[in-house]
């Protein structure tokens, strides 16, 4: 089993603050994806990172894939209440026939 550990597990911040969520594994992944999930809904894909060291930006969100392709981070600048949700990293296993989700980070942005 390829585990993806996320930290922190819970995060509660004030609107306008910055935050970083980490996704770590002892295994190498060919790619990693980040999803955001709201209560009662399925996860929604935010980004896919493929190349070690890759940085992708999506408005106020910045995603980075570690050089060794074992870890990733999500940085949110000037968080908004609409950013509230469960953030999940995910990746495909070495054999290509299993897809693993991280443990999740529950973010609450207080107005």
């Amino acid at each position: 089993t390829q585990l993806l550990e996320q930290s922190p597990q819970f995060l509660s911040i004030q609107e306008g603050e910055n935050l970083t969520v980490y996704c770590n594994s002892s295994s190498v992944f060919s790619s990693l994806q980040w999803y955001r999930q709201e209560p009662g809904e399925g996860p929604v894909l935010l980004v896919t990172v493929v190349t070690g060291g890759e940085v992708k930006k999506l408005k106020r969100l910045t995603f980075q894939f570690g050089d060794a392709r074992k870890d990733s981070s999500l940085h949110i600048t000037a968080a908004q209440p609409g950013d509230t949700g469960l953030y999940l990293c995910a990746g495909e296993g070495n054999t290509g026939n299993q897809f693993y989700f991280g443990t999740g980070t529950s973010l609450t942005v207080i107005p």
Partner: protein
């Protein structure tokens, strides 16, 4: 264009019963995956099907089975339900697999009493 649709949205079953959950992928998507999500945790991979063949299986007991039909829709079956099977069951579709990213349905909330 319709997204991934799952039915039913909510379901209550008694221990020992059997349940069938259904999923229709996005038009053109040939890969369907199933996940179990317990409250407060990330989804756990159950099955992946591509072109009607099982391509991957997670660490779930044999009580869990699935199949994919010629129109690429899919069913997840769970036999001999246990209380611990209570969860949100998510279906996701993609063109071919993980590299294109998955589009998820809103899930079926299963409660076993």
């Amino acid at each position: 264009d319709a997204g991934v649709t799952q039915s039913p949205t909510h379901l209550i079953k008694t221990r020992g019963q059997q349940v069938t959950l259904r999923c229709s992928p996005i038009s053109g998507h040939k890969s369907v995956s199933w996940y179990q999500q317990v409250l407060g945790q990330g989804p756990q991979f159950i099955f992946q099907y591509y072109e009607k063949e099982e391509r991957g299986r997670g660490n779930f007991p044999d009580r869990f089975s699935a199949r994919q039909f010629p129109n690429y829709s899919s069913e997840l079956n769970v036999n001999a339900l246990l209380l611990g099977d209570s969860a949100l069951y998510l279906c996701a579709s993609s063109l071919t697999g993980a590299n294109y990213g998955y589009t998820f349905g809103s899930g079926t909330r299963l409660t076993v009493v």
